[in-house]
Symmetry: C2
Subunit: 366 residues, 2 copies
C-alpha cells in the first residue's frame, strides 16, 4: 500500500499542534482516539441500525446537560459549532414565523454568524460592546423589535475569551419573550471547571439553547459539536419526515453522520470525570498566566485580563508578526479591533512550548 | 481503561452491516480506514495549519472532477450529501437574488430537500414522475417561473436508483437560464463504472453543480460528502470573511471539519483506480441481479428493472415485513408509492448474504 506512504508525506507538511497557538482545537485525548476507532463505521443518521451508538448519544447529551444545569435538555452531537449555531437560530426562527426575521448578536460573535444569516435568511444586528468587550446589554435591548427571533450571548468570545453578561441577557429575553441562544462552543467546557463562577448556562432562566463543542476543550475527535435545547419543543421545530430510514423524523442538519464524536466525547468526560477536566482546565489557565507574564516581559500588554485560556495582546504590527512567525512555522492569529495578536492556550500548549515561542518572538522583534 | 469496555458493549448492540440491506453506506474499505487513522487529528477548517491535508483536498476534487468530466471544477469534501445539496442550492439562490425563490425538484428527490427548503427559505416545487419514475421534464418546464433559482435532477434516486433525463434537464436549464443541480450522492460513483453509459454529469452543458458522496459507493469513511461546481463563480457565492483563521474566506458550511474524509476518499480512488472501482460496482450490479432472481422466485416483482444497485419490490405488506425482519435483526426499508420493500446492494452485501436473507424472508412469509 504505497498510497499510505504518499498520504503520510502529505500529512507531514501539516504544521504540528506543538507549533499552533491559534486554534481552538487540540490533539485529541488518547481515550478519545480509542473510542473513535471503535465507532469509525457508525452512522447516527440511521439510528435503527446503530442502536447502541444512538443510546450512547442520549447519555452524552445527559452528561453535557448535567454539567450545564439541565439534565432534561434535548439535543445532539453535531458536525461542529457552526451547525449547532445554525440549529439554535433555525429553531428560534421556526418557532416565531415573521416575514423579515432578525437576530441581535454581540459584535464579538464568531464570523460564522454572517454565514448563518445568509443561510437562514435572517438579518444580523450586531450590538456594540462595552469597555470590557462584553456586549452592551442596553444596546441589545434597543435593537430588539417585533421581528427579533433570537438574541445571542457569547460565553467565551473567539477573540478574547470574554463572557457576556448572560444573566442580564436572560432577564431581557424573559421580559421581551425572545429566544436566547448562548454560543459557548469554546467556554462551555471551560467555565464549569473554573474557580471563579461565571453564570452562562441553563441555570439562567431565559436561556433557550446552548452550543458547546466537545472537539474544542472537550478533547474529543473532530467532528464533535453540540447543540442543547432547554426542552423538546425547540428540537421539534427542526424536524422533517424521513420516509426510508429506520427513524420517522430527523432533526439534525446533516443526514448520515458519524458516531465517533459521540463516542470520543463520552470517553473523555467519563474517563476524566469532573476532577480530571478541572485539572486540565486549571493547567490551561495557569499556562495562560505564564504566557501573559512572559509576553509582558517583552513589552506586550493584554487587551483584557484573560477570563479563560484565550488572550490577545495589543500590537500595531500584528499582521507582520503573524506572518513572520508563520514563516518560522509558529501559528498565531490576529484581531482587528483593537489591533492585536491572539493566542489560545489549549491543552497541547505546555509551559515549555510557551517559553520556546516567546523566546523566538523576542528574537524576531530585535 | 474500562470505559473502552463499556463503549464496546454499546457498539455490540448496533446491527452489523452483514444484516443491513437498507443503507447507502457500507463498511469502509481497509485502505480508507488506514488513511482515516493517519488524518484523525486534522482540521480542514484551518488550512494554514493543515497545509498538506488542504492540498490533498484539491487533488481529491480534481480526481472526482476528472471522473465527472470537468477537471476544472471547484468544490470540497463536505459533511455529507445534505450539506452538499444545501450548498448547491444556496449558491443558486445567492446568484439570483429574488424575493420568493423556488426550486423545481423531482417527486423522487431525497427527503432532505424539505429540510433544505426550510433552512434556506426556498419554496420546494415537486414535479411529477413519468411511468418509469423519472421526472417528467415537461412538468418541470411548466413549474419554472421567474423566481426559480434552480432545477434539480437525480442521478440515482434513493427509492429506486433511477436516473432522471439529465440531458433534457440540461437543455431546459440552458434555455431558461436556470441553475441545474444534480444530486448524484449515490449514483455519482456508480454510473461512471457501469457498462451502460447514462449521461448525468458535467459533460452535459447545463449542469452547474453535482453532489457526489464518497462515503456511499466510494467506500470512504463517514463523513465524506462532496459538492462540485462547474466553475469558481458558483463557489464564490458561498464565501464569508474569516478574520481569525489562517485563510481569508470560507465557503464551506461548517467551520472546523475533519480531513479524514479527504484522505479516505483519496486512498480508495487511488488504491483501486478506475479498474478496481469498476470491479466493485460490477459485483454490486451482479448481486442486484441475483437478488432480483431470488426475490422473483418467492413471488416478488421489482417496481422497475434496476438501473443500479438499488431495487424495490412491490409489496402490499411492506411495513409489516420490514418490522418482522427487523425483529430478526435484518434491516430493509420501505417506500410508500408504490408500496414496496427496498434494498440497496452495497459492497458488503455478498451473494451469500443475499441467499441467507431471501431464505429467511421466505420462511417468514409462510
Amino acid at each position: 500500500m504505497d498510497i499510505i506512504e504518499e498520504l503520510r508525506k502529505c500529512r507531514e507538511r501539516d504544521i504540528p499542534y506543538s507549533r499552533v497557538l491559534s486554534s481552538m482545537c487540540t490533539v485529541p485525548h488518547p481515550v478519545a482516539l480509542k473510542a473513535h476507532e471503535l465507532f469509525v463505521e457508525t452512522n447516527l443518521g440511521d439510528p435503527g441500525i446503530f442502536v447502541g451508538t444512538r443510546e450512547l448519544e442520549d447519555r452524552v447529551i445527559r452528561l453535557l446537560g448535567e454539567l450545564l444545569h439541565n439534565k432534561e435538555c434535548k439535543g445532539y452531537i453535531s458536525s461542529g459549532g457552526t451547525e449547532a449555531n445554525i440549529q439554535g437560530i433555525r429553531s428560534a426562527r421556526n418557532l416565531k414565523r415573521v416575514r423579515n426575521p432578525n437576530i441581535v448578536i454581540p459584535k464579538s460573535a464568531h464570523f460564522s454568524f454572517e454565514k448563518i444569516g445568509d443561510i437562514l435568511g435572517v438579518e444580523i444586528r450586531r450590538a456594540d460592546l462595552d469597555e470590557n468587550y462584553r456586549v452592551d446589554t442596553s444596546k441589545v435591548e434597543e435593537m430588539i423589535d417585533e421581528n427579533t427571533v433570537a438574541v445571542v450571548g457569547i460565553a467565551g468570545t473567539t477573540e478574547l475569551g470574554q463572557v457576556d453578561d448572560i444573566k442580564t441577557l436572560g432577564e431581557l429575553a424573559m421580559e421581551r419573550d425572545v429566544f436566547l441562544h448562548i454560543d459557548a462552543a469554546f467556554g462551555g467546557l471551560v467555565l464549569p471547571f473554573m474557580n471563579k463562577k461565571i453564570p452562562f448556562d441553563f441555570e439562567i432562566d431565559g436561556v433557550s439553547s446552548i452550543t458547546v463543542d466537545p472537539h474544542k476543550m472537550g478533547m474529543a475527535t473532530i467532528p464533535a459539536g453540540g447543540i442543547l435545547f432547554r426542552s423538546e419543543k425547540f428540537l421539534r421545530a427542526l424536524e422533517v419526515e424521513t420516509p426510508y430510514l429506520t427513524s420517522k423524523y430527523q432533526f439534525t442538519l446533516t443526514g448520515t453522520r458519524p458516531g465517533t464524536g459521540v463516542a470520543s466525547t463520552y470517553a473523555v468526560l467519563k474517563h476524566l470525570g469532573y476532577d480530571g477536566m478541572r485539572e486540565i482546565v486549571q493547567r490551561c489557565l495557569k499556562n495562560t498566566r505564564i504566557l501573559v507574564e512572559e509576553m509582558e516581559m517583552i513589552g506586550f500588554e493584554p487587551v483584557i485580563e484573560p477570563v479563560m485560556n484565550v488572550v490577545s495582546f495589543h500590537c500595531s504590527e500584528a499582521e507582520r508578526i503573524k506572518e513572520e512567525l508563520y514563516r518560522r512555522r509558529w501559528v498565531i492569529s490576529t484581531i482587528r479591533n483593537p489591533r492585536a495578536v491572539r493566542m489560545v492556550i489549549m491543552p497541547h500548549v505546555s509551559e515549555e512550548i510557551i517559553k520556546e515561542f516567546v523566546a523566538e518572538l523576542k528574537q524576531l522583534l530585535h
